[in-house]
Amino acid sequence: MEYKVVDGVKYTQQHEWARPEGNIAVVGLSDYAQNKLGEIVFVELPDIGAAVEAGKSAAVIESVKAVADLYAPVDGTVTEVNETLLDQPELINQDPYGEGWVFKVEIKDESQLASLMDKPAYEEFIIKEEKEE
């Protein structure tokens, strides 16, 4: 696989990942997505305490090529945001699953997370998407 796909997180069809930590999910952009966007230059973070809805825009990622929405993978309330990204948006390029995390959300409904893709399913999804283009 050309792109890094890690274990222990769940993936959406819009290429976000969510890592459960208790009743909190850490949310970020997959390596595939950061690769497609190219060098990221600006991140607009959600407000702490904001209610986000699965599949709805929660943050905005801007690269030299395009501006993209980052959709919330699950419903919930934002508990923390990665403010380091405001000065160093390139962390999403450098370490998408680690220091490039975007926000944390308190999970409302565990089953939403369970319905997302795991590593093998997401790898298959990327391969399919690559073929279609």
Binding site: E62, K65, A66
Partner: protein, 485 residues
């Protein structure tokens, strides 16, 4: 090519000046006697000290670096960079037009009002709509005006739950921004395998919260929506309206009309389709046309006619109000009107014929070297995917830079988003076969260069005033003001 030179502020010598004034014929007074102290500068004003010839040479040299339709091929997709006939400028500059004041009484500007009125008749015929406003000053402004009209329509019917606007992924880039600006929520509709809007997905998305579907037809892929009448039916049946983004009208003039396809609102970019300058040269103009049931909500005034008399019609009680001071960018309307009169109905149809022919011809040449997804007969533009080249080490952005080295303005890159490494190319109706052949040859040469040394292509351009710019640094740490070191 000459390389970047010194700024005006870095040139000159202390005390050098480009003027000489006669001696003062009243007694001179020191400035601190004339102005209160708090209004006086504490440091001397830093202005360049130059002779007239230095200033003239500086700006003349800068002016030669402009690239426009008048200097070369400009195949910017979705933007119809067609040639702007100079006679348009002559007509707009006639003293009767140019020296008019917008506050003049109606009876002294009958000629201008007649032109406005006639222009509206022409646009109605071209699009199949009932009435037009010329107020919006460009396409995106027209979009916002159109959505406000749609909003007013729903509100006036006490239909307050329509808070969503559907937009296909192949839409013009300004559409989602306009929708958000108008206070709506964007719902994206995917494309199917042929590049059409996915009809099943549209049916699923439409409901009683749908305010409108916003559509560019042909789409940014240059493809005509084959199911347009069925799409219109689906949206109308749910109580929604159809908005037509006229950015791509150059493909279908005289062949198809948005009004006949079922659209309720349309904006035209007359600075694209009807040959008035655009792209920094503006100003633009984005007239909005509507079907009969939406006429009451148009901005005021419209221009009406009673017998032989033309007048400003403010009698629209449900109007959304004004969206521009006075009557819009009237000078631009004059140029477009002149173009339409010179071309005639047959001429406009021929322009669309030529635009579509040029696009298909150029695509057929590029297809030999490049990958073009959604390969079917297209309208005015087509999208190349430089994905295979990207894998070799030089993508769409690098090809664009290489085109600069060969004297061409690049096409639109990285848009539409549904095509990876997109090069969205619109050759338009005013280009000759020789120009298209030369462009195709340049693209072929670039493909060869990538095969031989992709790294070199990815580091270009080499012959422009400045070389490869650091786009990331420019966005992350922009230097917006020159400061003396």
């Amino acid at each position: 090519m000459r390389k970047a030179k010194a700024l005006l502020f870095e040139m000159g010598r202390s005390g050098r000046q480009g003027y000489s004034l006669p001696s003062c014929d009243v007694p001179e007074k020191p400035v601190d006697e004339l102005l209160p102290k708090k209004m006086l500068r504490t440091e001397p004003l830093e202005i360049p000290e130059l002779s007239e010839v230095e200033v003239i040479r500086h700006y003349t040299e800068l002016s030669t670096r402009n690239f426009g339709v008048d200097t070369g091929f400009y195949p910017l997709g979705s933007c119809t960079m067609k040639y702007n006939p100079k006679v348009n400028e002559e007509v707009a500059a006639l003293p009767g037009f140019a020296c008019m004041h917008p506050c003049q009484p109606e009876h002294t500007v009958q000629g201008a009002l007649e032109l406005y009125y006639n222009m509206e008749q022409h646009l109605k015929e071209l699009t199949g709509m009932e009435r037009f406003t010329m107020q919006p000053s460009a396409g995106a402004h027209g979009e916002l005006t159109g959505l406000m009209v749609i909003q007013a329509y729903h509100r006036n019917r006490d239909d307050h739950k329509r808070n969503k606007v559907l937009i296909p992924v192949t839409a013009h880039g300004t559409n989602p921004a306009t929708v958000t600006m108008a206070g709506y929520e964007v719902v994206q509709i995917p494309s199917d395998d042929r590049g059409n809007v996915d009809l099943a997905a549209l049916k699923e998305a439409v409901d009683d919260t749908t305010s409108a579907l916003m559509l560019t037809n042909p789409s940014t892929l240059g493809l005509f929506e084959e199911e347009i009448t069925e799409m219109a039916r689906v949206v109308h049946d749910a109580g929604g309206l159809l908005y037509y983004d006229g950015a791509n009208l150059n493909a279908i003039m005289g062949y198809a009309r948005p009004g006949d396809m079922g659209f309720d609102v349309v904006h035209l970019n007359i600075h694209k389709t009807l040959s008035t300058p655009h792209g920094g040269g503006g100003p633009g103009s984005g007239p909005v046309g509507v079907k009969e049931r939406l006429v009451p909500y148009l901005p005021v005034p419209l221009v009406g006619k009673k017998g032989d008399h033309f007048y400003f019609d403010y009698d629209l009680p449900e109007s959304i109000g004004k969206v521009h001071s006075f009557y819009g960018n009237f000078g631009v309307v004059i140029k477009a009107y002149n173009y339409m009169r010179m071309m005639g109905a047959e001429g406009l149809k021929q322009a669309s014929t030529d635009a579509v022919l040029n696009s298909n011809y150029l695509a057929s040449l590029l297809k030999k070297t490049y990958y073009i997804p959604y390969d079917r007969i297209r309208k005015h533009e087509f999208v190349v995917s430089a994905k295979p080249e990207k894998k070799k080490g030089a993508g769409a952005g690098d090809i664009a830079k290489a085109l600069l080295d060969r004297g061409f303005h690049p096409p639109t890159v990285y848009f539409p988003l549904i095509v990876d490494e997109a090069l969205m190319t619109e050759p338009n109706d005013t280009e000759s076969k020789e120009t298209l052949d030369a462009y195709a040859q340049a693209m072929e040469d670039i493909a060869k260069d990538i095969d031989q040394d992709a790294e070199k292509v990815a580091a270009g351009p080499y012959h422009t005033v400045v070389g490869r710019l650091d786009e990331v640094r420019a966005v992350r740490n922009p230097i917006l003001r020159w400061e003396k070191k």
